[in-house]
């Protein structure tokens, strides 16, 4: 089974589809609105709003969420069945409450998503959103995660034991670094 197939369903979305075979998450320029190969502009706008509501962070601009849409676009380009899934899913969201999804209030958007949260479409978008958003260096920065440490020689001299709001641990339990 190919990696991108194996999290297609339900909760398996966690191991999801966003990471390409190379494992390297595409990193578009921070402010650029990506160009899409397969998604139509309305579909892209809808998926942007859906990605935002699934993992909403007020401190984030649209750029990290556009990267999610880019990943969805790449998946749609690679696999026509994904393209159809996304097209049909956007249509389903637009059918909620008689308005276009992007015209709904935040509260209504959440209700619309809630109504389809068990569908393969939702699971696909959530899975790609999860993997793309929380692998984005800009999101790392916003959520104060420093990530990779190898290039600086690890956290040994960069705060691995800098917590000062609790008493020190005796050396018998926690020796000093060699």
């Amino acid at each position: 089974m190919k990696r991108r197939e194996f999290l297609k369903t339900g909760a398996m979305a966690v191991v999801g589809t966003a990471v390409a075979a190379s494992g390297i998450v595409a990193r578009a320029a921070e402010e650029a609105v990506p160009k899409f190969s397969t998604l139509k502009p309305h579909e892209a706008q809808t998926l942007l709003q859906a990605s935002r509501q699934i993992f909403p962070h007020k401190k984030l601009g649209d750029a990290p969420y556009w990267k999610v849409v880019s990943e969805l676009d790449a998946a749609a380009q690679a696999d026509p069945s994904v393209a159809k899934l996304l097209t049909d899913g956007v249509a389903q969201l637009d059918g909620f409450n008689g308005s276009k999804f992007i015209e709904l209030s935040d509260k209504q958007k959440v209700e619309a998503l809630k109504s389809i949260e068990t569908t393969p479409f939702f699971q696909k978008v959530r899975g790609v959103d999860l993997q793309t958003l929380y692998s984005d260096p800009a999101v790392f920065k916003a959520l104060k995660y420093q990530g990779a440490s190898y290039a600086m020689g690890g956290y040994l001299h960069h705060g691995f034991n800098d917590l000062e709001w609790l008493p020190d641990v005796p050396q018998s339990a926690s020796p000093k670094p060699a």
Partner: protein
């Protein structure tokens, strides 16, 4: 590196290059045996490892499709990923966190000590702690386990500082930075720990013991090892006398090759090992190899696990430094007054932001969840690892219809939590939360089990051939030159992380194979 002929029936074939197979291969090479080491995964190195969780997952994890059944939460959250183990040279020793604890004396006698538990297929191991002690000592020396051999403990990180203060405030006594197969000082040609924070992603500093860059290169240096990565074993073959004669495997191009063997040792982890035995059925052995007991694949254990996260008012940055930075051992005792039998360890754990988002509440979305994730820098966490009950119905079986790309039935992993497991997890969640509340946690979170890293028991050791698959040496009861060399051998799971015991059993098994080989018994 040696290249042994496919037709050379004097070689020992070892299947799998992780803690069991990688260690066994080296031990046998050091004794002068010719070894063919077949590994399904690719050959990575500290250079190709990356400090990125999803990248490393895709690079190292065993992603071939598996199915699940049973009432365990993993079947709901990760229906096609029952186990988080590795398909790569070095196996899951590339991913493990390094905790190296000996099993306790009473844990080898679970049936004797834990009597009267309905539905538990308990059995005493056919060996005792004293049988293993000399080999535990060899394993600890080999792996450079801290707090043994006068090797100092590792320095604790922020995550451990939170655990230590909380633990001592609630009255726990045995709390320290653990016995870890991670160098606290340069040793065996490898550096001291850099506190990278990416133990699970392949250690880029090489401070953590892994067969990838310890046992395997040492075996290669003898000129006796023929390591063949990207070689997926399909079948173990036998002759009319019921003796193993070789293994059929597919190389990276899908070409089928037959390697002859004098002895075959299986160390594919507790899902692939029984799968291979079952997939090797023949007219002589219609139920699979070494399965006259009917126990191949049965009694699958995965430890009673779960995590407790604490959220604090001030930063912790728990991702900095070793993942298992410290341990509380007070609950790993024999005391049935707690409402369950068996014990559990409490060990710090940390996840990067990508995996925290994925695992903190699998499937969750929306503002409540993202508000919690925004507390990420202020989190501390611990993993609970406790003894789970062997149950015959918990089993690795062959899927009735689904096949892999080689045409072999894929494995299904069935697991129902035992009432004892549930009682232990509930108790452990409360105790873990109390530790964090004692140092001011504003919130504690009970995190459900991750896919299993401790897969055990599916080819268990037993005194009598009718009760299990192999004897106290890992030699199968049915086939004298066929050995089980991984955690599948475990008769019961005990509370401790299993790697040290797997390595210990492999060292001991190598001595036995040499002795029996010398007597021409195998």
């Amino acid at each position: 590196m040696a290249e042994h002929e496919l037709s050379d029936d004097s070689v020992i074939v070892v299947i799998g290059s992780g803690a069991g197979g990688g260690t066994l291969a080296n031990e046998l090479c050091q004794k002068g045996f010719k070894v063919v080491l077949l590994e399904a995964g690719q050959h990575q190195s500290s250079t190709t490892f990356h400090n990125e969780e999803w990248f490393a997952f895709n690079q190292l994890a065993w992603l071939d499709k598996r199915t699940t059944s049973g009432n365990w939460r993993v079947a709901k959250d990760f229906p096609n990923l029952p186990a988080w183990i590795c398909k790569t040279v070095g196996g899951t020793t590339t991913h493990w966190a390094g905790a190296s604890l000996r099993l306790q004396e009473h844990e080898f006698k679970a049936k004797t000590h834990y009597s009267g538990i309905d539905g538990a297929n308990l059995m005493d191991w056919p060996l005792t702690l004293s049988d293993l002690e000399p080999y535990y000592a060899k394993a600890e020396t080999k792996m450079g386990v801290t707090r043994t051999n006068d090797i100092p403990g590792l320095p604790g990180n922020n995550n451990f500082k939170v655990m230590y203060n909380g633990a001592t405030r609630v009255g726990y006594k045995t709390v320290h930075t653990g016995r870890m197969a991670i160098n606290s000082q340069p040793r065996d040609g490898r550096s001291a720990c850099w506190q990278l924070g990416f133990c699970f992603q392949g250690c880029k500093s090489g401070a953590k013991w892994s067969t990838l860059y310890t046992e395997i290169p040492k075996a290669e240096a003898t000129g006796k090892l023929d390591l063949r990565p990207e070689s997926m074993v399909m079948q173990i073959q036998h002759d009319t006398n019921g003796k193993a004669t070789g293994v059929l495997y597919a190389d990276k191009d899908g070409q089928h090759l037959l390697q002859k063997a004098r002895v075959v040792c299986v160390a594919g982890n507790s899902i692939e090992t029984p799968r291979l035995l079952l997939n090797s059925s023949s007219s002589t052995f219609p139920n699979g190899l070494a399965n006259s007991s009917g126990q191949v694949g049965k009694n699958y254990m995965r430890h009673t696990t779960g995590s407790v996260f604490g959220v604090f008012k001030k930063p912790v940055h728990f991702y900095r430094g070793t993942v298992m930075a410290g341990i509380i051992q007070d609950e790993a005792i024999l005391d049935t007054k707690r409402g369950f039998t068996g014990g559990f360890e409490m060990e710090t754990i940390s996840l990067g932001l990508p995996f925290t988002a994925a695992f903190l509440d699998p499937g969750a979305w929306g503002a409540n969840y993202t508000n919690l994730l925004e507390q990420y820098p202020n989190m501390a966490a611990m993993w609970i690892v406790g003894e789970d009950m062997p149950q015959e119905k918990n089993a690795v079986t062959l899927h009735p219809t689904e096949k892999d790309k080689l045409g072999l039935p894929i494995p299904n992993v069935h697991y129902d939590d035992h009432a004892n497991d549930l009682a232990m997890r509930t108790y452990a969640f409360k105790k873990g939360a109390a530790v964090y509340q004692a140092v001011g946690a504003t919130r504690t979170i009970e995190v459900p089990p991750y896919p299993s890293t401790h897969n055990l028991g599916t080819c268990r050791q037993s005194e009598k051939p009718g009760d299990g698959v192999c004897n106290k040496w890992g030699q199968t009861h049915d086939i004298k030159n066929l050995f089980i060399s991984d955690g599948s051998q475990f008769t019961t799971s005990a509370a401790e992380n299993p790697t040290l015991t797997i390595v210990t059993l492999a060292i001991r098994q190598a001595d036995y194979i040499a002795e029996q080989g010398g007597k021409q018994n195998i």
